[in-house]
């Protein structure tokens, strides 16, 4: 299946083909209008947004031309945070990182999900089996560990003065995930003594696999089949995805087909080669899981322009892998003074939380930034504090070509006198 073909286009094509057939077969020609006009009811069966709304995901080093030439796409697509309201990401705009692999063409009637390894009773489920079991629906963000990193393949566009919130922070999204708690399934299978990890595996062309400590599996992980009220989108794991709330995106295995209960991490390619963070001492930190508190102002943000002086609502998103967002502070003077922002319901654990604060622009230069605190009391750090954690200075963060994993520093936006807004990270 080519995911780039919309259902509507498919319908139009099929409709045209059918009309053609009808004309060919019928002895009397149909009126011209009936041949070409799509069935209005058919068009309304699955709604589409106004053609005037143009907000789309953009590729990060993912040059579609390379893809057309059958070359692998290096990374993925970022979500347009600056255009979104509320705390849910529309499913059509959820960010994608799948290391260049297209979604596999999975039929939920054929798809099987296996739990085996160090369990008393190995079990195999169909998607319908899972839907018979007690379900939960929870708001959770999923974020790539490389999101907002100043280094790495997407570094130049993230650091650019003209960067938008999509360029800087677009590898995070929030959905209402519905499914069965993994703890329930593991209890049914009977986890044996000595089991310490699980290995989760997808059905994509690379059979992506990821080791996860069993504590997380028994805590709040979900074997999800629903996303924002409908089946998970193919590019997000249809028909099943493992959701590991608050943990680096790579653990949220899409197209989930197997969980093996084991007694050690399996040292899969992504966890030993791609996702450890290399620091200047030459040592790599592997198996980092939980994402720290992070926030970003999405309005006004990079690339936007304030039309005139006067009142604006500052609005943004805050989230933390440590729990719920407890507080967001906003500064309009580059961090000299801070004011508490208002948190908008729902304020859910390990979910995007919408915040807002009133602001009146006096026409002078201003630097807007937000800082969040989660319910563990962890405060979003400054760039200097992140550098310290890395045993480096800010210059290193500016210059490294490596991904700075879990980079959650405060994001400043500079408002110029002409109303233009630009990225002021460094």
């Amino acid at each position: 299946m080519n995911p780039k073909q919309s259902d509507r286009r498919n319908f139009l094509k099929n409709g045209a083909a059918l009309a053609g057939l009808a004309v060919g077969a019928a002895t009397t020609a149909l009126p011209a209008a009936a041949e070409t006009a799509p069935d209005i009811d058919e068009l309304h069966k699955y709604g589409e947004r106004s053609p005037l709304v143009k907000s789309v995901r953009i590729g990060s080093i993912n040059n579609p031309e390379r893809h057309l030439k059958d070359e692998p796409v290096a990374f993925g697509l970022k979500s347009p945070l600056q255009d979104q309201v509320g705390m849910i990401t529309p499913s059509s705009l959820h960010f994608i990182v799948s290391h260049g692999y297209e979604p596999p063409d999975l039929d939920p009637r054929e798809h099987r999900f296996l739990i085996h390894g160090m369990v008393d009773r190995p079990l195999i489920f169909t998607v319908d089996d899972l839907k018979r079991l007690p379900s939960v629906s929870r708001f959770h963000f999923i974020e790539c560990h490389g999101n907002s990193s100043p280094g790495g393949p997407g570094g130049p566009e993230r650091k650019a003065v003209i960067a938008t919130a999509q360029d800087t922070h677009g590898f995070t999204s929030c959905s209402l995930w519905t499914g069965v708690p993994l703890s329930l399934l593991l209890k049914e299978a009977g986890v044996q003594k000595g089991a310490t990890w699980i290995l989760a595996e997808g059905a994509d062309a690379s059979k992506h696999s990821k080791s996860i400590p069993i504590g997380k599996a028994l805590d709040d992980a979900i074997v999800a089949y629903g996303m924002n009220g409908e089946p998970i989108r193919p590019e997000q794991g249809f028909p099943l995805r493992l959701v590991t709330p608050g943990w680096q995106g790579i653990n949220n295995v899409k197209w989930l087909r197997r969980i093996e209960v084991v007694d050690e991490p399996y040292m899969a390619m992504m966890e030993t080669s791609r996702y450890p963070s290399v620091k200047l001492d030459g040592k790599s930190r592997w198996f980092e899981f939980e994402l720290g508190p992070k926030s970003v102002i999405t309005r006004p943000s990079g690339g936007q322009r304030l039309a005139a002086r006067g009142y604006y609502e500052i609005s943004g998103l805050a989230w933390s892998g440590g729990g719920a967002i407890r507080r967001v502070e906003v500064s309009a003077d580059g961090g000299r003074t801070w004011k508490d922002a208002q948190l908008h319901d729902p304020v859910a654990k390990k979910a995007h939380t919408r915040f807002s604060a009133p602001w009146t622009w006096d026409g002078e230069e201003a630097v807007l930034q937000s800082r969040c605190t989660d319910d563990q009391g962890t405060v979003q750090p400054t760039v200097a504090e992140v550098a310290k954690l890395w045993g480096a200075d800010v210059d290193y963060l500016k210059k490294t070509s490596a991904i700075v994993g879990d980079f959650n520093a405060i994001q400043p936006w500079k408002v110029n006198r002409d109303g233009s807004v630009q990225n002021a990270l460094f």
Binding site: K207, V262, P265, Y266, P276, V278, K283, R285, A402
Partner: protein, 195 residues
Amino acid sequence: MRFSKLLAVGIALLASRAALAQTPSYKGVGRTPTQEEIQTMDISAGPDGKGLPAGQGTAKEGAPLFAAKCAVCHGANAEGAKIGPRLTGGQAEIDSLKTLQPVRTVGGYWPYATSVWDYINRAMPRNQAGTLSPSEVYALTAFILAKSNIIKEDDVMDAKTLPKVQMPNRNGFVPPRYQDVVDEHKRGCKQGVCP
């Protein structure tokens, strides 16, 4: 009067709830997989060799396979090409990890040789995965390791020898023992820095 009415209602409620209140049994939801089903789906190999199948191969045997199936993307000597990354490496790459341009390759970065077998077996050749026999995967793994001077051309790689191969960057990870990962996480360590 009032009390007994309440009691009656209470008892009726309790009775009608009983069926729902019992700890439900999910027996019959899902089924026991056959041994064969598990075997076909279970493709993973762990760092101590768990899951590695029978079969064997040397770098010499891997050379023609690599030329036929991998070189187009990874270069004739696994040095990397337009599409596929470089696979070879050693001390120079390990030294690069301390710079602003760290280079990670199979030979110069990966801590376990079993991961190479596991990854080729599950994911390569890209978009034709699952077409190689276990012995072919051993031979291709041997080819990449030999090109990085980690093993010799004639060393036989199989389920016993592969887990014993010492990868040059094996000690480049924090925490050094994966057994400590869970504990460090519980203590709230971040990026190797513990509170």
